[in-house]
Chain length 255, copies 2
């Protein structure tokens, strides 16, 4: 079985290597990942610049391809140019930091998985709810269970799994649940500074997440110690609002 | 009434100016837009660089703020730092080129509207289905009708309207419809080239759109000459797949 690995933290990230180690023994693994860190790029693709591709070795052996683009670029160029055979599954991660609630729209990790789903591949994004530890053991093991789950049960066309894992010792994990995407989001502000020449600039600061959701949503379940799995797709249509406004008279064209 | 205008083609784009002209007579209009073209950036935000903000004048008068970031950055910094009063509505556009189907996930135009919706504002993205003409008359007029529609009928919290307008003379427009987001997408490929030093690089090429959908979907309706309005939100959950997998045994944690 063929697995394509990518991420948004860049090809040298330990979370990606943890997946490589977990799968390369009994899967045919390819790595195609951004050359540099690409967090918060969302579903960006690169149209105004050409993409460069560079082979990366690890311990003297070929490890994968570094691409001068975004996670979505990596998936596209992997399956359309770089790989000899299409992958059976695409995994993106392991991300340092959760990807839940509204914030998944900013996530490069998640966008790589949804891009793979667009292109017709089974895919999952794997995120670990921490910015500190680099112990990916449990998350890497669980990723293997996710791949087996998808191979056994299939996955709806165009859908990817968004998996979030608490950074807890195995015995403290409360279980695994299927959750829907919730409303939680980072509360942000800008910090205004002056540069040495007196010019103003701003840093976007991510503050604490606003917890907003019911126990069946990703962030609330994750915070209670559960591993969460959310099937996500390309469709942003708000069906409730569509149903409501379809009963109204649409805006008129004035000529 | 206060309207915030932004886009992804950059502050000097004529489509943005068309909205400015359409609204500035009887609305209080603010313009906060990217300094340069930011197409296909999706819902990217800028974390690794500070943002610069520059005042832009047009015809000797203050026109708006140019931000060294993405459309989503522009909306955030506008409402959190630059504007004295919150807008009653945020409009993104008028984009040169439609934003329909799966491709809206790549769209900077659409991401500005969804970002505004995240932040609690009423919002719409306006796109004209052409890359050639710069006649925004009908699209700008219709944008006024969209704003009136939203003011009269409200808009569900967290939801924005994605509006696509055919590039046709008014008498050839077939009507206005509420449509769901369809499956259409650009068929892409990479063009491999060699630079003057013999190194390989790749350009991502967008080919023709794969038409894929029923008449109630955005691209199919747009192609039939209809103006389409799609309510979109942050939630990527695939409900059908969630319902299906909730009946299955979840992947197990191996310790």
């Amino acid at each position: 079985m063929r697995i394509l690995l990518t991420n948004d933290d860049g090809i040298h990230a330990p979370g990606l290597f943890a997946l490589y180690e977990a799968f390369s023994q009994d899967y045919e693994v390819s790595v195609v990942a951004p050359e540099t860190e690409m967090s918060a790029v969302g579903h960006a693709i690169t149209l105004s610049q050409p993409l460069r591709v560079r082979s990366v070795t690890k311990g003297g052996r070929f490890y994968g391809y570094a691409v001068s683009g975004t996670p979505a670029d990596c998936v596209k160029i992997a399956v359309k140019e770089l790989l000899d055979h299409p992958p059976d599954m695409v995994l993106s991660g392991i991300n340092l930091g959760r990807n839940v609630g509204m914030d998944i729209l900013y996530s490069g990790t998640v966008s790589a998985a949804t891009e793979a789903a667009f292109l017709g591949f089974k895919a999952a994004a794997i995120s670990l709810d921490t910015r500190k530890t680099e112990d990916f053991t449990l998350a890497a093991q669980f990723s293997r269970a996710v791949v087996r789950f998808v191979m056994e049960n299939g996955l709806r066309d165009g859908t990817a799994l968004n998996v979030n894992i608490p950074a807890l010792p195995p015995e403290q994990i409360q279980g695994v649940c299927f959750a829907r995407q919730g409303l939680s989001r980072f509360e942000e502000r800008f910090e205004r500074r002056n540069d040495p020449r007196g010019n103003v600039y701003y840093w976007l600061m991510g503050e604490t997440t606003i917890e907003n959701g019911t126990p069946d949503t990703d962030f609330v379940a994750l915070k209670s110690g559960m591993i969460t799995i959310t099937p996500i797709h390309y469709d942003l249509t708000c069906r409730e609002e569509l149903e409501r406004i379809q009963k109204l008279r649409p805006p008129a064209i004035e000529v």
